[in-house]
Symmetry: C2
DNA sequence: ATGGAACTATGAAGCAATCCAAAAAAGGCC
DNA sequence: GGCCTTTTTTGGATTGCTTCATAGTTCCAT
């Protein structure tokens, strides 16, 4: 698990070669202005000749600092997270930090392990997208960490830390409002697992939009399913058996929407013409699907950027209250509605 | 760009608290068996009480070793690379390495910068997916690096290093062979930029398959375009103007294939019924598209895993010749053909 | 010349661990 | 108990760089 390295050129060697002290050489690598141009040039020349490579590990040790930040996400293959990662990565890159990556695959033990590893690596800060099932121990542990940290995407009640998240209920409300404005009165909510908080939040927004418009919530139009394309297919077939079928469908996710559209076609309906469809997530395919999917975007990149900014403020000791940033999703209208 | 840390508990403090020497404590954190159970227990107890966190940075400095590996890719939002990353990550996680991530967005200067940063961080090894446009300087530099390294996905002529790549010509050949076997004689090759090596490689396989089957290559059936959905749309509209249109289409990429299918529908054809379509890449959407797309998969996860394995062998000083692993893509038949 | 700023440069200590060789403790046997 | 072997434990040096207080140079104005 370890890998040893052969002779690296050290700052001492450079200094010796250039005929100055190590301290001087050190000041030069760090671009300290109080070194004369003459010696600076001389030393830089020596570095070039010897092929010197700065050793951040040693530097960080001595200066008790760190220029890496850890970022722990649950799944890179999920488009949301890979986009989120890009957002974080970009923002931190810009200010000179390097990213240590970890993926939990939604396992508590892996998350625990990654937290340990990153702290052992002396990361200067930590961005954590917590796994869904979190214990009291986790909460306690996170509160114990005195490394700057921001929680993202999923909030952990009880954890005192900055947080960047998305207002899912509001997203659902926007989607349903849009369908109501288009004149629909029977709007289904399809897909998703009833027990998951993600579903509950969308459902809240859905109910809210309907009741504000004076429409009744028909439980028969809310059908749960696995959060997959197949799930969407099943759900739509079920809802179409209703004697009074919906005229528009708000789907739990884009994936569900794809299944729903497949089901509609099987039953001879044309999505976007006979029945309006709205998805949720704005996965990249939504745009290129047939038909292009109207959906709700939660701006994963922007979320990542905000998380990085909050972390940066903490790391640079910018004094402020604990912060919560809740981003509001936006509706993206395409041909499926 | 730096972040200083408050008092961390050190091994000295632990040792003092437990009434042993630092050396002993050090042996214990490293699970050295020649420590009596009594003292081990005592010291572990002290660590617990003081909340000791192992400092890998200091340890790596002293032992001249590293337990991080750097991985540089061109784009995380590209599904191929995010899957590739998962493959690498998983394999390295298993053997206890931590991943330092960098993204070049296909920029040479960013790649240069990332290489420097990672070497300065004393990574134990490096997996590099080089940017497309690479200079002689890059080649020279890579040959100078004496950190274990493996190149992946894109080969750099002149660089002496292990390599894991994909046999794209063979993938194209397999796709076209399949269409020929289905009885097609007029097979188009649509999409992609003529100048890119990725296109040329697919074209080689395409030509090869046709000529081996005794079929003539009709230049009018090879239409280039931007590697986007729009590009695919344009290309297919153009090829359909042909007095003798193709009966099957091999697309440069899945993205192109989506555009091609859209174009076919516009002209009243049903993809998979009237005209067979084969894509390339097997992006996750290919499976859930309408209709599901027959395509060529190049197993990004597996590629990542292989890269990680090669790197691991180098890092653990497993003596062997320089290695090249070329994976052969596979055909995945779905309803679009 | 000369005294005092204002620049530059440096020596030695220190960061938190590991390494190595050598000392101390424990066991075994006569 | 004494002697030898084996098992545990330990100083002190070391890793490559930064820190900090101090020393050495310039450079002007006196």
């Amino acid at each position: 698990m370890k890998q040893s390295k052969k002779g690296r050129v050290t700052l001492q060697q450079v200094a010796e070669h250039a005929g100055v002290s190590t301290s001087t050489a050190s000041l030069i690598v760090r671009n300290n202005p109080r070194i004369s141009d003459a010696t600076r040039k001389k030393v830089l020349q020596s570095m070039q000749e010897l092929g010197y490579v700065y050793d951040r590990v040693a530097a960080n040790l001595r200066s008790q600092s760190s220029d890496t930040v850890g970022i722990i996400i649950t799944d890179i293959s999920n488009t949301f997270f890979s986009e989120f990662l890009i957002g974080v990565h970009d923002a931190l890159d810009e200010v000179g930090y390097t990213v240590l990556l970890g993926t939990t695959f939604d396992s508590v033990s892996k998350q625990d392990h990654l937290l340990s590893t990153m702290l052992e690596h002396r990361v200067g800060g930590l961005i954590l997208c917590p796994v869904s099932e979190s214990t009291e121990e986790t909460v306690a542990r996170l509160n114990d960490i005195d490394t700057p940290m921001v929680l993202a995407v999923r909030e952990l009640p009880g954890v005192k830390s900055d947080y960047v998240g998305i207002n899912y209920p509001e997203g659902a409300r926007i989607a349903v409002d849009y369908l109501i404005e288009k004149g629909h009165e029977r709007i289904a909510l399809l897909g998703g697992i009833r027990e998951s908080s993600t579903w509950v939040e969308r459902m809240e927004g859905y109910r809210d939009a309907l009741s504000r418009a004076g429409l009744e919530v028909d439980e028969a139009l809310m059908i749960n399913s696995a959060p997959t394309r197949e799930g969407g297919l099943e759900a739509v077939l079920k809802v179409l058996e209703n004697p009074e079928p919906p005229t528009a469908i708000f789907c739990f996710s884009d994936l569900i929407a794809f299944g729903v559209m497949q089901g509609l076609r099987m039953k001879g309906f044309t999505p976007g013409k006979d029945i309006d469809i709205v998805g949720f997530d704005n996965v990249p395919v939504a745009e290129i699907y047939h038909p292009p999917l109207t959906t709700i975007s939660s701006f994963p990149r922007r979320t990542g950027k905000e998380a990085a900014n909050l972390l940066y403020q903490q790391m640079e000791k910018i004094k402020r209250e604990q912060q919560r940033i809740i981003l509001t999703p936006e509706l993206i209208v395409r041909e499926s509605s």
